[in-house]
Symmetry: C2
Subunit: 328 residues, 2 copies
């Protein structure tokens, strides 16, 4: 019997990660391509479709049977309609990407949101596997979140849920790109950490450099780091009041600081809790593979289980590999 695979495509502002993934979550082939966002929406869509159809051909050439595709995109995504409502990075507005992909592939396609796809992968195969109430919060250029309950990512009524980066934690603080004042993203994203240090010290440093300086005892870097941790704790406190998560999985560039970020964050959050139940706080396990694995999981929901007597295969090689990588 031929092995069935799904086509997974994770579209970012600069690069496209793609893969062929089996029904038991084994990644059998990966490819990376440039997004070429500067070429405009139609050219980007053409590249996405070319990547997806190329993967389908590759699968068939290798004796595999492609059965569905999942495409994860950043922005405001209407997953139900299969339409990219707004993706600033890709210059897409009300773009019917699912329909185009289904026509190109001749396969069922699910369109998803990049952070929610990554959260689904972390909650199912990564740091949150086995848990029912997981909040995935990547901290990079911006801050977003995906709220996953019993393996379902909650997208909200308009695909705009989980915007933890845009809750106001510092009234009177810096203006956020969203137009509000004092959003979590404006004070605690990786970009904000770099901006704040550069403003205080008069030298340009990025978040990774600020983390290193703080560890080396630089007082300004230590102050910026402490302010960042405190703001993140305020954001998570609000998130916990509304979501009551069991585990918070921190991802993105800032999470690369590991325990330098997470240990004081746990302590700061604990100091602010009153009635709230304390969630676990851990680093994401799947790194930048999360979005692509999540796209595969979306695609797998479209695949009919046509061999119900198959023995379940609990081994999840991609997740195991990522966990080994994270532990190394």
């Amino acid at each position: 019997m031929s092995t069935q695979v799904v086509i997974a495509v994770d579209v970012g502002g600069t690069g496209i990660k793609s893969a062929l993934v089996t029904r038991d979550h084994e990644v059998v082939h990966t490819e990376r391509h440039a997004t070429g966002a500067e070429r405009g929406a139609d050219a980007v869509a053409e590249t996405i479709l070319a990547v997806a159809t190329g993967l389908a051909e590759k699968a068939r050439a290798d004796g595999l049977v492609p059965t569905a595709a999942g495409i994860a995109v950043p922005g405001v995504i209407d997953e139900h309609a299969g339409v990219v409502r707004y993706a600033a990075n890709l210059d897409m507005h009300d773009y019917p990407l699912r329909e185009l992909a289904e026509a190109a592939l001749g396969l069922p396609v699910r369109l998803g949101h990049d952070v929610r796809a990554g959260g689904l992968a972390e909650a199912t195969l990564g740091a949150g596997r086995g848990l029912d109430h997981v909040l995935f919060m990547p901290i990079g250029t911006g801050i977003a979140a995906a709220h996953i309950v019993s393996g379902r990512v909650l997208a909200g009524a308009h695909g705009a849920a989980g915007e933890i980066g845009h809750i106001v934690v510092r009234p009177g603080g810096p203006r956020c790109s969203c137009g509000q004042i004092g959003c979590l993203e404006a004070v605690a994203s990786a970009s904000a950490v770099g901006r704040r240090y550069s403003a205080l010290a008069g030298t340009t440093r990025n978040a990774r450099e600020v983390a290193e300086l703080a560890q080396a005892g630089d007082p300004i870097a230590a102050q910026v780091w402490a302010e960042t941790v405190d703001a993140l704790a305020d954001g998570l406190l609000t998130g916990q009041a509304l979501f009551d998560s069991e585990l918070i999985v921190v991802g993105g560039g800032l999470a690369e600081a590991g325990e330098q970020l997470l240990a004081p964050l746990r302590e700061a959050l604990r100091g602010k809790l009153t009635f709230h139940r304390e969630p676990g706080i851990v680093k994401a396990l799947l790194g930048d593979e999360a979005g692509c694995l999540g796209a595969a999981l979306l695609a797998l929901t479209l695949v009919e289980v046509d061999h119900p007597t198959d023995t379940p295969k609990p081994v999840k090689k991609a997740a195991t590999r990522a966990r080994k990588k994270a532990a190394a």
Copy 2:
């Protein structure tokens, strides 16, 4: 064929509302009893069980067949375990109410949280019927919320989700009973409205009286009302960033002010939205029947559909009656 009914019990700090409800949501009998909370947890539990068994007997005497029971309780409720983790009003700590009720009734029982049960009823039979993303926010002595997605109320990992009353909207503001400073509940609950007016005016008034004074042009009352609306809009703004609701259903005592509250609240929220999608804001329809109807809905999830060929009955008399009452 005998009509099947479920037993619904909504336990409040002062009163117990209870009913017999058919599978098509018709309320065929109601009773109210005093909670007698001052007598302690065991006496309250005895009263709850007596009310429930009395309803079962009443049903049988009327030729009805009781099939299950739902009990809604305020506090921290572990719905999965059927245990009241903590209910300050009822003096209950880790109280196995479901087990006791099942033993007393000889029927399956579901234990629920009062606000979440009320939210389930509003989302299913009341103001949010037909919608998939509803936030129910009763404003009374406190402020809470129930987040209902596709007919499922999200309780969180520890039964503590939806605590919108305890997000900090006024840093440096009044201390909340939860221990934090500046919680929404501490500045915008019905109790807070009364407290704030009394402090500014030097005369004791409750929220209803403050609403009347504001409408009559009293400047202090108008100021308190405007501050309350602004704080509620800040709380809903944060809720919208995380939940992306389609409709916000406002209940509780403060919602009795109707459009005097909701019209400026819609306007204030609209003025604060940036990327967020604007939700509808309406008054709850089911009034103080919501919790009891929600307990019935919980019980109905336990009832086997043993007559799958029955014609579905879309008429929901209880909801229709409540809507008529609300419109009158």
